[in-house]
Symmetry: C2
Subunit: 419 residues, 2 copies
Amino acid sequence: MTETSVDDGVLSRRARLLGPTYHHFYEQPLLIERAEDVWMYDREGRRYLDAYNNVPILGHGHPQVVDAICEQSRVLNTHTRYITEQPVQLAEELLGTMPADLDSVIFTCTGSESNDLAVQVSRAATGGSGFIITDCAYHGATDVLAGMSPEEGNSLGAGVYAVRPPLRPGDGQRFAADVSRCIEQMRAAGVRIAALLLDTIFSSDGIAAEPRGFLQEAVRAVRSAGGLFIADEVQPGFGRLGEALWGFQRHGVVPDLVTLGKPMGNGYPVAALVARRELLAEFARTRKYFNTFGGNNVACAAARAVLRVIRDEGLMQNAQRTGAYLMEGLRSLAGRGAAIQDVRGAGLFIGVEFRDGAAQGADASAEVRRIVNELRARGVLVGATGRGGTVLKIRPPLTFAPVHADLLVQELERAIGAC
Amino acid sequence: MTETSVDDGVLSRRARLLGPTYHHFYEQPLLIERAEDVWMYDREGRRYLDAYNNVPILGHGHPQVVDAICEQSRVLNTHTRYITEQPVQLAEELLGTMPADLDSVIFTCTGSESNDLAVQVSRAATGGSGFIITDCAYHGATDVLAGMSPEEGNSLGAGVYAVRPPLRPGDGQRFAADVSRCIEQMRAAGVRIAALLLDTIFSSDGIAAEPRGFLQEAVRAVRSAGGLFIADEVQPGFGRLGEALWGFQRHGVVPDLVTLGKPMGNGYPVAALVARRELLAEFARTRKYFNTFGGNNVACAAARAVLRVIRDEGLMQNAQRTGAYLMEGLRSLAGRGAAIQDVRGAGLFIGVEFRDGAAQGADASAEVRRIVNELRARGVLVGATGRGGTVLKIRPPLTFAPVHADLLVQELERAIGAC
C-alpha cells in the first residue's frame, strides 16, 4: 500500500475542513485507527508503543471504563440541577483521596474549565488580581488562561507574573526567592496577589520533581502575602507520580484549590475543581456558576471507574515501580556517553534533557525533534517539552510494564545513534 | 415510602460535598434515577414529562447515540494531534448543513469553550475589543464569558455593552437602533467593536422569534463598523426551531462565527466553533489553540449519530409540526382568560409570558415560579426565563409528540387554576 492510498484523502480533507489551529505530531503524520492498552495501531496495522499519552491513564479503551460509560448512558445522563446519586458518589470517592481540608468539589468538563474557574474563585476569595506562574507554563485554552500559558507563545495577561521553574535539585530556594520578588513587584505595581498557580510536576516547563518539598517555601511566601496556592494536577494527578495520587502530596503541602482534568475519565471529558469550602463562599454569593455537562451521570460513572481501576490494579504502585526501572534504564543510557544532560521525574512522568552540541552541529532542540520523529519511525511515541523543547517527555499510560520500558530504552538508544 | 427514606441522605451528602455553587430546580428537589425519550423517572418510579431539556435533543438515552458511543469507545478515543477519520467526517457532515461561507470548524467540549474561543478569534480577526450582547444574555461560565452573561447577575466585562432584546414583533428596528447607539458609545469611549454576540432565539432574554429577519439590520450595522456577528446556536441549534437547522437561517443572515454546544452529542460533552476560514488566520498565527478532548473520536461518533438521527427521524420537521400544534394549544389557553400575556417562539422552543397582577396579588415572577413548581408536582418539567423570570420556558426533546403537547397544555391549565 502506498502512502497515498493509506491517506484516503484524510489529510487534505482535514486541512481543508478543520481550522488552521489544528497541528499534528511528527513530520510524517500518524494516521491512527485503533488503540488498546499501551498500543496504538495505524491503518496498516502497525503498532506503536504509547509512551506519551496521559489521558488514557489506565491504557487505551480500558474495558471497565467503557462498560461504565455504556451502562450509565443507557440509564440516565442528565445535569446537576436534578438530584442524582452519581455526582455525589464521585465527590465522596474523590474527596476521600484528598487531605481533609479539601472538602468540596465543583465538576467541569476540561482542565481548562477547571483552571479558569480556579482563577475566578481565587479572585473572589482574596479580592486580589495578581497571579504567579512559571516561565513555560501551560494552564489551558480559555481567554484568561491564554494569558497564563506562555508555553504557547502567548504574552502574559494583566497582573500575571512569571518565574523561572525549579528544574534542578537545589533550585527550590531560588524559586521561592523569585516568587517573593514577584510579590514585591506586584505590591509596587499596586496589584494584590490572588494566587500562585503551578503544575506540581512542571510538565510544560521541562519536568521538575526533586527534591520533594521544594514547593513549601514558595507556598509559604504566597500565603503570607494573602494569596492562595492552586495546584494544577491536570497532568501529574491520578497516581502518575507513583508515590502519591496527587503531585502536591510529594511536596507535603495542602493547596487551597486543586484542579483536575485530562486522565480523570480515561478519555471521557470530565474534570473538577477541588477546594476548601470557605474559599468558595464569596464566589458562590456573587456568581451563579453552572456547568451543563460538568458532573453529568456518565462523566461521573467514567471517573468513578478510573479511581476504582487505579486502586484495584495497583497502578500508582506500578507507576512507581516501572517508573523507577525506566529511570534506571534511561540513566544508564545517559551514562553510556549519550547526548543526555539530565534524566528526571517521578513515577511514570520522566523528562530526558539533551545538551547542545552533543550531536554534530545540532542544538538540543533540533536533536530532540529528530529523536521524537526517529522514535515514531521505530514505533515508539514520545513528545518534547520545556523551553525550546530540549526535554523528551515520557508520560505513558500507567499500565506500562518493564518490557515496555526495555523497548523504549532500546529504541531511544538506537534513535540517538541514528543521526 | 416517606420523603426521608427516598432521600437516602443524597441531598445532605450533596450539600456537604459539592460546592455552594450547586443549586437544584424546584422547591421540592427532584431525585431522578433514569430517563427515556421524553420521560424522566424519580426513585419511586413516578414519571415526569420532560418539556425542558434541550441537551437530550433526540430524547433521553437515544439508542443510536449510545451505541455509537459504546462502539467507538472500544476502538479508539484519542485527540486531534493524531490523524483520525472521525473528526474529519464530522466536520464534513456539520459544515454540509451550513452556508458555504462557513467552511471551517474547531471542536471544543462545551458551549462555554466555543463562545470563549469565538471571543478570542473575533478579537484577533478585527483588532477590536468591544462586544455587544443583550440585557439578559447567557453565553457561558468562563471568566471572559461571565462578563457577557448578565442573566447570571454578573456585571458586564470591560468593553461589553448590552442592548434590550427584541421581544415583541416590531422591536427589530428599535433593536438595530440600539445596536447602532452602542457602536457610537464604543467609538466615543475609544473602543473598537469586535463582535455582536447573540443567541439567535434569545433563550435567556425571554425568547424572541418574530418576525423572521429582524436580525438583519443590526448585523448590517455591526459589519459596517468593522465588527463580526457571532451566532450563539448553543440553545436554538440542531433543528429545534423547526424551519431550519440553525436559528440564524430563520433570519436570512450568514454569521461570521457560529457556536454550537449542548445538544450536539445528546449529552456527550462535544461542542464546536464554525467560522469563515479567513477569520481564523490571525488567531492561528498568534495562538497555538489545542483542545485535548475537543473532537475526540467518541465525541465525534456521538455528534455524527445526532445529525443522522435528526435527519432520519425527521426531528426538525417534527419540531415544526408539534411546535405549531403546541403553540396553538397554548394560545387557545391564553385566549380562555388565563394570566398569559404572550405566547411566542419557533418550533419546539416556546415562551409563555405571564402578566403582573393576573393572579391575586402575585407578580408575574412569583406566578411563573409557582406554576413551574405546580407543574413539577403534576409530573411536567418546564423552566422559567427572561428578566425577572416571567416567561415559562418550554424546550423539550424533539421527539415530543402531540399527545405530550396535549398533556402539557392540560396540566398547565390546571396549574394556572390551582392557586
